[in-house]
């Protein structure tokens, strides 16, 4: 429907009479055309250029016709004369403006392109910011929705700011005791294999509590949501489908309602289907959800106060503030921690759902908006400069017009019309750029940005951009025109050389501003590039190049027991190892360079804790024997797992150096033992059998942390990532790898696989994207700023031609004149650079979190950026300076 709005806006350029008589038909015709195009992109683009051209032609013809009608009625309607005069003047002004632009094509094109670039880029980023960050979430009264979660204690003892997951029992307590929260629901993203309906398929699913849909304020479009009875361990197995999934898998067949779907081997009855407009918060943040079911039905540990694995979404009670809810939840968390001393110390908290959904991305987008804003400043400064130059050039023309009897207002209006026409042309180009830009942003931005599907060029944003470009256009044509007019009160005075101190001062200021802002952008882009290169060259501590991975997900009755899974995994490792070219085989539950991790408390033997203390926390992974060899990680001490480890429960572990240092500082970790959880937990002790080096498991940018590895051949995990190191190209082994797994069970979907180096590249797509974007802004800004410096200086030289000619005639050498002009240009550039360095240092903190391995005040980057800009600016100044030095004194003097 956005498109219709755009077309409706386009219609505004037609005369009102045509719009009122044929508006409805025009819209209908547009809809007909659009239907034919049917969403195909290239055709859409062609259609819009056709429509825009058509509208421009039609508007020109219709206005001419309208004018003709008025002229024809002249005699009959004298009272219209005023209006007609106005229109005639406007047409005259317009025609004059267009003629003058045609004569100064270079000027007009430069101004329009510059302004359009600035406005278009700003509109693009602003549209994204608006759609992603500012517009409310798509639920009724969404500002009352909050996420409820747990603040855990970090290893240093303080409560973390991050909201972690809750235990389901804690949610029940929130529901029953809270007065600030009207209702609260639990949800948990899971994955299930759909079988028995043609091809088995792996689905993203969510287990939710019965209140889930009520809290969000939505209902299924067809059927119903879950009842309280169904949300119990012995409740009926029912499911609600997402619209997309229903459409894709069942061709939107309403008869699906009441049918039975086999999910992970369990039959579920379809009781509802959501409408197409429902985007669950999980989908906004992570991934799409195909279907929902009551999670009490599928999770065993819903009564375990020590397992924190659900997200809480709540609706604030009427009249309750977020602060009140936070205070109440914090108190509740304290009470729970005291009542259940066996569970980790925690504090409950709440944050606005909107903030949680778009939180991290916000900073990236604001940074981009800052960058694009700087670009806009430079673009406006550039255009202002151009317009100032034009105005000065036309001082004499204005004086002549004034002398011939043109009124002040008439002359000013002429100038304003020109400014407006320029700005409007730029606006139209900018609108096109913004459409392309938003489309490109949506297509090329990596997955990290939520809600992008909702983003479009917003008419409000567009109007704002047009206003901005018009304001620039008008302000910088009117201001100099008025000044010139004041001087012109004394018509035909000498205007050629004494072009006004004010003009010089404004232009100098513009050069300084442009240089400063461009340097800030340039430095920012330099820092990001620098940081990105470092990120690319980080050694994760394991082999990336020759490793292939394949995710295996075991579900259903056949794999209900750990023994069954262990048997499958053992067989899988053997068959994968038998593939030609495979050098080593292993596997892990958390694929390296994936953000998920599991943290656990571990208590080394003999650990004594104070009453309020928690044992040290270590992140842990389950791995198959051979994993370290497959990843090229050496065993520093002790041994790797064997096939027998884990078979009789997990009693052995490997640790990395950081964990060894944390748990047994200064001691030999091999042979040491610990218990999982708190010292009094009563779990079986685990013995350390080996030590491996620290690797970057989570992200390339994150330093290694204390980690331990447990044997996965226990079969306790249902989802594992098979890893193989190959002699040649790992991609070549992928198909054989899948065949090998299918040779054991042909019913597994196996949709996720790839090479580790691709996976590593994907993990830094996001920094790559915004680095690229900001660098583009910086490059454009740099070019604009240099053009500005060049243009201004060239113009100054032109204005001073006579003075320079006199100097040359009086014996100054070319080099002196060269130095004179260069000094003037570079003084301004120098001031701008100093200002730019100061601003860069002041705004550095904003970039901090985007940088890796480099500080935002990195002196090297600043110096290089400033030096590079100085060199480029020198080159830009050199051209007019050389021209000045080569002036022939006689010609210049004669020309005046």
């Amino acid at each position: 429907m956005k498109e219709e709005g755009v077309y409706r806006t386009l219609l505004r350029i037609l005369p009102p009479r045509l719009r009122s008589e044929h508006g409805a038909e025009l819209m209908q015709a547009f809809r007909d055309r659009e239907r034919e195009v049917d969403g195909r992109r290239f055709r859409t683009l062609r259609l819009w250029s056709f429509l825009a051209l058509d509208m421009a032609n039609a508007a020109a013809a219709a206005w001419r016709h309208e004018l003709g009608r008025m002229v024809a009625r002249r005699g009959a309607r004298t009272e219209r004369r005023e209006g007609k005069m106005m229109i005639e003047t406007l047409v005259q002004d317009l025609a004059y403006a267009l003629r003058s632009f045609r004569r100064h094509m270079g000027f007009a094109v430069t101004a329009v392109v510059t302004l359009a670039l600035g406005v278009g880029a700003t509109t693009t980023i602003w549209s994204v910011v608006d759609g992603v960050l500012l517009s409310p979430l798509p639920y009724p009264e969404s500002d009352r929705l909050v996420q409820v979660g747990t603040h855990f204690r970090s290893s240093e003892g303080a409560f973390e700011g991050r909201l972690g997951p809750l235990s389901p029992v804690d949610i029940v307590d929130v529901q029953t005791t809270s007065t600030t929260v009207a209702s609260v629901a639990a949800s948990r993203l899971e994955g299930r294999i759909l079988s028995g309906e043609g091809e088995p398929e792996q689905l993203s699913t969510a287990g939710v509590s019965a209140e889930y849909f009520t809290v969000l304020g939505v209902e299924p479009a067809v059927g119903r949501a879950f009842t309280k009875d169904e949300d119990a361990p012995d409740g009926a197995a029912v499911t609600v489908l997402s619209h997309d999934f229903w459409y894709r898998r069942f061709g939107a067949d309403p008869a699906v309602l009441g049918r039975t779907l086999h999910l992970g081997g369990t039959p579920f009855t379809v009781v509802g289907i959501m409408g197409p407009d429902f985007h669950p918060p999980e989908a906004i943040h992570h991934q799409d959800v195909a279907l929902w079911y009551p999670f009490a039905r599928v999770n065993d540990d819903i009564d375990d106060r020590g397992s924190f694995f659900v997200q809480g979404i709540a609706r604030l009670a009427p009249g309750a503030s977020l602060d009140a809810a936070q205070a109440e939840l914090a108190a509740l968390g304290d009470r729970l921690s005291q009542a259940f001393p066996d569970t980790p110390a925690r504090r409950l908290g709440a944050a606005r759902l909107h903030e949680r959904t778009v939180g991290d991305v916000g900073r990236t987008l604001w940074m981009l908006l800052g960058g694009v804003g700087a670009l806009l400043v430079i673009a406006c400064a550039n255009v202002a400069n151009l317009l100032l130059v034009r105005a000065t050039e036309r001082a004499r023309e204005m004086a002549v017009r004034a002398a011939l009897g043109a009124g002040r207002r008439r002359i000013l209006r002429q100038f304003m019309t020109e400014g407006l026409v320029l700005a409007l042309c730029a606006g139209v180009v900018a609108v096109g750029l913004a459409h392309v830009g938003v489309e490109g942003f949506r297509r090329w931005s990596p997955g990290g940005i939520p809600r992008l599907a909702e983003v479009g060029v917003d008419p409000t944003v567009l109007a704002l951009a047009l206003l901005l470009s018009s304001a620039t256009g008008v302000l910088f044509t009117l201001a100099p025109a008025m000044r010139t007019l004041r001087q012109a009160e004394d018509p035909l005075r000498e205007h050629g050389s004494g072009s006004g101190r004010e003009g010089v001062r404004t232009r100098s200021l513009l050069i300084i501003v442009q240089t400063a802002v461009a340097l800030v952008l340039f430095t920012g882009a330099g820092l990001l590039l620098n940081s990105f290169v470092r990120l690319q060259h980080v050694d994760p501590g394991f082999e990336l190049e020759r490793v292939a991975w394949l995710r295996v997900y075991l579900q259903g009755d056949a794999y209900a027991t750990p023994e069954a899974r262990a048997t499958f995994f053992g067989e899988m490792l053997e068959r994968a190892g038998a593939i030609g070219g495979v050098e080593a085989v292993g596997g892990t539950d958390n694929l390296p360079l994936s953000p998920n991790r599991s943290l656990a408390f571990v208590s080394p033997r003999g650990l004594v804790l104070g009453p309020d203390e928690d044992p040290p926390a270590v992140s842990w992974h389950m791995v198959f024997p051979g994993t370290f060899e497959a990843l090229g990680i050496p065993i520093l001490q002790g041994r790797d797992f064997t096939d027998r480890d884990g078979q009789a429960g997990a009693t052995v572990a490997l640790v990395n150096q950081a964990a060894a240092e944390l748990l047994w500082p200064g001691q030999d970790p091999v042979g040491q033992s610990y218990v999982p959880g708190r010292p009094e937990s009563g779990s079986d002790a685990i013995t350390v059998v080996g030590v491996v080096p620290d690797v970057r498991h989570q992200r390339l940018a994150n330093p290694p942390e204390p980690e331990m590895y447990l044997p996965a051949l226990s079969g306790s995990r249902v989802r594992m990532n098979l890893l193989v190191r190959t002699a040649g190209d790992p991609a070549a082994a992928l198909e054989q790898l899948r065949e090998a797994v299918w040779s054991i069970d042909s019913g597994l979907p196996l949709p996720e696989y790839g090479t580790l180096s691709e996976h590593a590249a994907d993990s830094i797509l996001e920094p790559r994207f915004y680095t690229l974007l900001l660098s583009t802004f910086a490059a454009v800004a740099l070019v604009l700023a240099l053009v500005g410096v060049y243009g201004t200086l060239a113009y100054t030289v032109e204005l001073r031609t006579r003075e320079l000619g006199v100097r040359l005639a009086l014996g100054a050498r070319g080099n002196d004149v060269l130095a004179l002009v260069l000094r003037r240009g570079m003084t301004l550039v120098g001031i701008g650079l100093v200002a730019g360095v100061v601003i860069s240092l002041m705004t550095a903190a904003a970039l901090e979190r985007f940088l890796f391995g480099i500080t935002p005040r990195d002196p090297g980057t600043l110096v290089v950026a400033a030096a590079a800009m100085a060199a480029l600016a020198l080159a830009a100044c050199m051209i007019p300076a050389l021209r000045a030095a080569r002036l022939d004194p006689m010609t210049t003097l004669r020309s005046e």
């Binding site: 037609l14 044929h22 509208m55």
Partner: protein, 115 residues
Amino acid sequence: MSPPDPDRHLPLTPVVFHSLVALAEGPRHGYAVAQEVEAVSHGRIRMGPGTLYGSLQRMRDDGLVEDAPNPGEDAAHAERRRYYRLTPHGRAVLRAETERLGAVVRLAESRVGGG
């Protein structure tokens, strides 16, 4: 107001001429005029919505076409579509233009041969 001299409108622009030709066969709605013009001109004249309705309005202002009752054959669009037909004056103008063009074509043929 007595209908003015048909020759006053000549020569017609290709868009107006083709539109009048399309309407000469009977009442049409706007989109149908555009489609027929595109077909008859072998796609050489492609009228966008703005051009189409702008020229229909001008033709009506000039008394060449007028609103026609909806024949109601197209029930789905009945309430949406507005129909247009030639006025007698419009027919006279079309005839005058056709004669003028015919004369030019004959002259051209006599000079370059063909036909």
